[in-house]
């Protein structure tokens, strides 16, 4: 007798041959969820200034190292005072885009104050996204993104980050991915602490962002020259420019580079 309890009550291999898993149409592997991003968007960068927030992201959708899609929107306005910037997996981003559209539709339904007092505020949008991101990670089926929500709420600039793990944080400057390493230090030269926000005007902040987009285009291999930039100003409202490109680049040194850079002759 087979003393292995696992075999008890089962058709024996001697009689019936080895069990064929295909019969039950069962896969040899368990169901798999997203384990890695496929088409990706690179950094989203953002900064607070005395009258609002600025957020920017380039327009590239990269398939590994292939610059696959060159005109992708990654900045999404929600209502009149919120912009959501998304980096990471583009298909997951498009899913989030749908969630945000649904959120707006839902808010406009049966809501007499939808256009003013009860319109969507940045913190509402953020809390919802953070809840979705954390729930998905807890189901081990993450949305592979890092998101920055920028806006103005109750006259104050709003900026908060959430990623595929559901980790959230706020800071006067925020950047995802490569930008966290390259743009943040540059932006923090302008607004290092909360008290600096008051001293920084729109133009200063915008120049800093443009400079960062340039540096990122120089050094991030998966970035593109074209980018979008949104300003959410407490007086001017929301402006979104989709047709910007990195300007004033200096490539003069390039002609002198020999080999890998250290070569002299």
């Amino acid at each position: 007798m087979n003393h292995d309890p696992f075999a008890w009550g089962r058709p024996s291999d001697e009689t019936y041959g080895q069990y064929n898993q295909a019969i039950a149409n069962a896969s040899n592997f368990p169901k798999m969820n997203t384990q890695q991003p496929i088409v990706t968007g690179t950094s989203v960068i953002s900064i607070k200034y005395n009258n609002g927030t600025i957020i920017a992201a380039d327009r590239l959708g990269a398939y590994g190292s292939l610059l696959r899609f060159t005109d992708v929107d990654r900045l999404f306005p929600v209502g009149n005072n919120t912009v959501v910037g998304i980096s990471g997996d583009i298909s997951d981003m498009q899913h989030i885009e749908k969630l945000l559209e649904d959120l707006e539709t839902e808010n406009n339904y049966d809501n007499s104050y939808a256009d003013d007092e009860e319109s969507l505020k940045p913190s509402y949008v953020f809390e919802y996204l953070a809840a979705v991101m954390y729930q998905r990670r807890s189901k081990m089926n993450p949305l592979w993104n890092a998101i920055v929500v920028a806006g103005v709420e109750n006259g104050e600039p709003f900026l908060r980050y959430v990623n595929l793990l559901g980790v959230t944080y706020s800071s006067p400057t925020l950047a995802t991915g490569f930008g966290a390493h390259m743009a943040n230090p540059l932006l923090r030269r302008i607004v290092d602490r909360d008290s600096d926000v008051e001293k920084t005007d729109l133009q200063t902040a915008k120049n800093a962002i443009l400079e960062c987009m340039k540096v990122l285009y120089y050094r991030d291999a998966r970035s593109s020259r074209k980018f979008s930039l949104a300003i959410i100003d407490k007086d001017q409202g929301l402006t979104l420019e989709k047709d910007l490109q990195v300007e004033n680049m200096t490539w003069d040194f390039a002609k002198d580079i020999k080999g890998y850079g250290t070569q002299k002759v």
Partner: protein, 241 residues
């Protein structure tokens, strides 16, 4: 055994290497709770990190939950926030169900054990500390492991620099390894509760030192203090390097 793996070496397996999504991360930071005679403090730095990046220099992680209970869950920040959110909610419904009765700290501790153990097989990756006053008005600190095992203590450090701060606390709060002068190391220094001012000095020293030695600690120090008058907040700058 050969150090170079060849196709024939026995440490080479044929099963494919699996890359799995890792649902956790470490967001650094450190926390510290101390109970006094008739007060308790819970302090935490305000730096938020992932790997070597500083995400934020001011992201508070010690919270006032009402009912003179303060809480912090340090480690994986998303789990920490989720736990605190759930605990606050638990208090809210406790009030609805019990005619706004104040939640005792000991009950809060037991409740948190259940929140943590409920996720025993997918744990909240956090070191949790709560502080407040017990039913007799004495300062109390409870600390928890990630799956809900808990204990009431006089003091506890948690998070990234816990191992740096805890021995300091043993010595300075519980007077471990301290002996009365002229006793030739025979008579232990008797235990005595510290005053609020002494405790805040200790906490500040602990955090400035931890900031020096630990890269995930710094930027700001937020201390929440519970007395019979209620909850009070204090903030001190820490080094930002």
């Amino acid at each position: 055994m050969s150090t170079i793996a060849s196709e024939y070496a026995n440490e080479v397996s044929n099963t494919p290497i699996e890359h799995q999504f890792n649902p956790y991360s470490d967001n650094g930071g450190t926390i510290l709770g101390i109970a006094g005679e008739d007060f308790a403090v819970l302090a935490g730095d305000t730096r938020h990190t992932t790997d070597y990046s500083i995400n934020s220099r001011y992201e508070p992680k010690v919270f006032d939950c009402g009912d003179d209970i303060i809480i912090s869950a340090n480690g994986f920040a998303a789990d920490g926030e989720a736990l605190v959110k759930r605990f606050k909610n638990s208090i809210k419904w406790y009030h609805f169900d019990n005619n706004d009765k104040k939640l005792a700290l000991s009950s809060a501790a037991r409740n948190i054990q259940h929140l943590l153990y409920g996720k025993r097989f997918f744990p909240y990756y956090v070191h949790t500390i709560i502080a407040g006053l017990d039913e007799e008005g004495k300062g109390a600190v409870y600390s928890f492991d990630p799956v809900g095992s808990y204990e009431r203590e006089f003091c506890r450090a948690g998070g990234a620099a816990a191992s740096l701060i805890m021995p300091f606390l043993d010595n300075q709060v519980n007077f471990k390894n301290q002996y009365t002068p002229d006793s030739n190391g025979k008579v232990k220094r008797p235990f005595k509760h510290l005053s609020i001012d002494e405790v805040i000095k200790l906490v500040r020293d602990a955090f400035t030192s931890a900031t020096e030695r630990h890269i995930h600690v710094g930027d700001g120090l937020e201390i929440l203090i519970v007395t019979k008058e209620g909850v009070r907040k204090e903030f001190y700058e820490l080094k930002r390097d």
